[in-house]
Symmetry: C2
Subunit: 255 residues, 2 copies
Amino acid sequence: MQESGEVGRAARGARRGRKNPAAQKSGARLPAAQTPSAARSAATPRRWRRRKEARPTEILEAALAVFAERGFAAARLDDVAARARISKGTLYLYFDSKEALFKAVVRAAIVPNIAQAEAAASDFPGPTADLLAVVLRRLGQVIGETPIGAIPKLMLAEAGNFPDLARFYLKEVIGRGFKLFSGILARGIARGEFRPVEVKDTVRLIIAPMLFIGLWRHAFERHSGERLDAPRFVAQHIDMLRRSLAPAPSAEPRP
Amino acid sequence: MQESGEVGRAARGARRGRKNPAAQKSGARLPAAQTPSAARSAATPRRWRRRKEARPTEILEAALAVFAERGFAAARLDDVAARARISKGTLYLYFDSKEALFKAVVRAAIVPNIAQAEAAASDFPGPTADLLAVVLRRLGQVIGETPIGAIPKLMLAEAGNFPDLARFYLKEVIGRGFKLFSGILARGIARGEFRPVEVKDTVRLIIAPMLFIGLWRHAFERHSGERLDAPRFVAQHIDMLRRSLAPAPSAEPRP
DNA sequence: CATTAATAACTGACTGGTCAGTTATTAGAA
DNA sequence: TTCTAATAACTGACCAGTCAGTTATTAATG
């Protein structure tokens, strides 16, 4: 094995004394267009445009799609570039390395959603079971209907190869998500709306099926006739949770 | 040619004179001792042994470990070989390709367990909730305490790259597992021990947390202080299921 | 029992292809 | 014209897979 460090090497290396770029294929006929610039006047097929602002998000979208399908290691940057309608070199104008691109994809996809969910949860007036339902339905939409649902699969697969990304994800996504649901559970228990369950495992039991949606969709669904109807699945999950979190009905009168 | 041998190069000697011996300055370990045959009399550290029968399972174990840590694409066969205490060439005496090795790993790890679970479930006398608990506890052990728990992560990650393996896994593992739990659910509903839930989604809700155990353990646990106590987690899952599958308590007296 | 011959298991240097990352050059924009 | 986004050809590293050669083991022979 080798390395393990982050990032690649220093950026600008002035190494490499080229040979003689022109000499190589001496007699080779020059490709196609002989006239340097004059001949392309009529039908102006522009080869490219400057789009400095639009590129980064386009690249991130393309990269998410390719990573989602192939996984990090098997994804080719040529494919990402092609999908983003640019050349591979252009990728490197915006991202330092494949790894940096991967991290950016994860961050860009996840962070806004987490923050939004936290905000939505913090000032919910009604019953806690309804709050839980709202949050889960929203999460189900994001995972089930956007490419973001592929991120968990990616992270799972690559956690072993990118320890620092794994830690980032643990802290910024899993940790915060965990806190979000822990807070909801605690609220319900404090209000007497939920029975006093063990919080940590219960949160995991709440999250696991949500994870399942993304995993199924992005790993197996295309190979299997079985469709997963995310809203219905989430509804069933919510229903089961309502029942299993309900305080003991007959035996325990409220104090 | 080949003048280096000072001792008797008689027959056994280090022939090894490849074409350009000096070209690669890399870590070419020098051929160690001088007398090839004489020196190995006292403390005979045989360089290797023939172990035709033991190899395949050893290779499979090593491969599972390496694949589990790195994923298929990032795993190096040199690492697998090193872990199995053999050379890379030997791998190819037993498996045709990296892909064939991967498939063999999955098959070897999964198939026996599925069959065993089916057998155990088919003739269970007691209440269906107990049957469900037994099966889940057993599954929790396998996933939580053996390297087999890494397989789901692997399959998830590589389903996109190995369509035929994905289909194999869908059919032989997911399909059969699904049937197993569907049968249990149906049994409970038919006996009036469970309320009449929608089966398909409910089975997914039962399986998802079990999957979660393996995913957590093999992707994140080492990066996070958070231990997952599988038996406790499974117990909590079972408890929640008992509650959420119970028939309506007040309204429905048994006939 | 000691040699020798035959066979099969095993090794590791090597090859060939792939792909991340680099750079000289081109062409759009100002 | 100058500046720079973008390109496309290029390079080097890495690694799956191969194969000529080595070594353990077994069988045959003296």
